[in-house]
Assembly symmetry: C2
């Protein structure tokens, strides 16, 4: 098990603003500008958070002209679920 990678995955979910971003993206793909409207943070800060979420594969981004569209990505969520599942199976021994 890769502690560093797993820690980074959970770090990505360990911030209130990023959780709120995930919450918004649950509704489907959104433009960065829409996310910026919804959150009380600056544009560079949003860009930073999106990079963290994308690096963790929790979100994927798509560029269309000058806009960036973000949506939830399965890979990161699957990794997190797999980790939690493995905690559970051996629990209680």
């Amino acid at each position: 098990m890769d502690y560093k990678k797993t820690a980074n995955l959970f770090k990505a979910l360990a911030d209130e603003n990023r959780l709120q971003i995930m919450e918004i993206l649950k509704d489907g793909e959104k433009c960065a500008c829409k996310l910026l409207e919804a959150l009380q943070i600056s544009q560079p800060t949003l860009s930073h958070h999106m990079k963290i979420l994308c690096d963790a594969e929790l979100v994927s981004g798509r560029k269309e002209g000058k806009w960036m569209y973000y949506s939830i990505s399965k890979a990161g969520i699957k990794n997190a679920k797999t980790y939690l599942k493995e905690l559970k199976i051996s629990e209680g021994k």
Copy 2:
């Protein structure tokens, strides 16, 4: 949804030493002294990490004489799994 509580839950999993602790506890209940042997950290640091894991309900502690026994707790894991499940169900809309 309580962003602060959820962020704290994932924060608890967002540290390499705490992930290693969870890994050891997968094998079953362990004394704090056993954990201390396994990790390259000081006793106060271990105590601090155990508090964070307990607060997140990922681990529960039991005092027996002068020893503390820790084991994985279902509640926190269930909360994390529930959160991830809710991300998935509405994904792709």
